[in-house]
Symmetry: C2
Subunit: 342 residues, 2 copies
Amino acid sequence: MAELTLEDIAKQVGVSRSTVSRVVNGSPNVSPEVRLQVEEAIRVTGFHPNAAARSLASQRTRVIGLVLPRSVSSFFTDPFFPQLTQGIAVGCNANDLSLSLFLVTNKEDEDKIMPRISRSGMLDGILVQSGRADDPLMDRLTNSRIPCVVLGRPFNHDCFNYIDVDNVKAAYTATKHLIDLGYKRIATITGSHGSTVTLDRIEGYVNALTEAEYIINPSLIAKGEFSETSGYEAMKSLLPHKPDAVFIASDLMASGAIRALQDSGLHVPEDIALVGFDDIPLAALTKIQLTTVRQPIPQIGTKAVELLIDLIENNTQPPRNFILDTELIVRDSCGANLHQKV
Amino acid sequence: MAELTLEDIAKQVGVSRSTVSRVVNGSPNVSPEVRLQVEEAIRVTGFHPNAAARSLASQRTRVIGLVLPRSVSSFFTDPFFPQLTQGIAVGCNANDLSLSLFLVTNKEDEDKIMPRISRSGMLDGILVQSGRADDPLMDRLTNSRIPCVVLGRPFNHDCFNYIDVDNVKAAYTATKHLIDLGYKRIATITGSHGSTVTLDRIEGYVNALTEAEYIINPSLIAKGEFSETSGYEAMKSLLPHKPDAVFIASDLMASGAIRALQDSGLHVPEDIALVGFDDIPLAALTKIQLTTVRQPIPQIGTKAVELLIDLIENNTQPPRNFILDTELIVRDSCGANLHQKV
DNA sequence: AGCATTCTTGGGAGCGCTCTCAATCTGTAA
DNA sequence: TTACAGATTGAGAGCGCTCCCAAGAATGCT
């Protein structure tokens, strides 16, 4: 059975291809009776318009891409990404869009994928996860003229539309919380080097300390890279410098840090207080429930889709951005509840 | 700047559209000099053929879909899925395919997504994660004639091409391992009710016990649903029945189970031995390293893509399946190392 | 009734590509 | 020289849709 076409339906009902097309696309200029007949025929036959032909004729595909650059290696380990993807999927489903996933795992992939992205007639727009400053993908993207929304603040942020949370403020709030609880040697475990997320969270941490007239001690700043293991290693490297509290740039790293502390026979929050970032489900499930900064992760995805749609439809200029709110979730790991109890 | 077409390149070089098309598609029937000239022009202009036009003319899109049915709710929490997705992405990249992601989160999504999947000219084929037996998606898929490979054994397995691991054998091996270590009251925490994965793993568990002439005790079989929390709950519900070992159908649930045991002041493996399933990175990172059944997760994805490509190109009949090997990774949680040391 | 206006409909020209078929050109053998 | 096989090329007909335009039907107004 060959695939049905508009023409087939038209013949069946006894109208023209154009009329069927109008019905399919919800044009108002069709008489009610004819519309009903055509709709019935479509229902009975199970006709679906051919997407390729539609795209070719209308120059629109109703497909958007989600690009995860090579420099975003935590995709496979950090629960952040599945949640983000879910938010994006919800946005796509709500708007009758399809989502194309481009996972760049190495240089060759990148060379293969770029043409597929920029190849006209493939994608109406793309969502790109912000990675490292030196990621060559961003440059290549700027050169292609496809509508694009960046997830997380990109480096040259006036060239791109983007969605982000206020990482500086969030990190400030988290650190301030530790200061207010009376901790004196507050360390931080950062995210991957070279990303804006990481820089912003460090900035917030530094701001809070500076405001409280603490001295910024470089040996209390340990570099992680958003993985559990890196959190473990970073915490280990921090221990000789005797921090009494640590602000950690992701919950996944925080769980690594907790493991390191357990291995060293230290207790959270009695010996060292912790604050994480993200509020992934795990945060509420660990033995010591994690105080953390909640990001509205799925909403970031959904909002990004909406911004992209607006961009595609109205080609708005200049680039805009949306900053979503975060919220400090106080649980046990920061010692706030401990202090109350005492 | 309007998008370039074959015709533009042809005009530039002074040949016909057909010749340029031949070069683009690597046809051998082009003289070396002309080929070089055309290639040069393509390089200089950065021309990319329009995907929609190609699809329309050739009836091939070079896009495959990954469908995650509503009944697969663990997508957002279980690290299994990002790893699987990575394997699929690698397979796609290697074969110049694009991957379209369809996350079904509710009934409305399903109704919206099905037409997008079956709509001709959109997808060359699809990969579907096997979910519950009563998932209506599978029926709808059987009716659509799009090439399809199922990830995990589907219920009516002679209707579908599928990739799976031998869950029965793997669960048997894991349980047998516990039997061999001398445990007497071996419990199990199962996966979500109604999926083949779950049934198969229970079957392997039962087989091993039966073979060893153990009595199958229903109160030692606790129902989980692949989430951390469900592992926690299931373990709690198991405790009154005093198991001395538990075979758990996923590592994520195992980490929930460990948490439950810690909360109850019990030690792994001294008080209760555990064996998990999957070998996600977490398994080697917990304080008590998890003995588990390793699945070659990314390979499942890559292999599935290869099978799908073969299906698309050769329309092979009847449906085939590939069963990949698993491997028991012995670490600390089963007590094997403990016994050795003693 | 006569005319302007709006609604509804069909026809046609693409969108940019693939693919078949026929035309041309080259070189070789008779 | 003529004929013919094989390589190379171009022309043309779609693929199934959208969208513009014009024709015809229906309505409203004076």
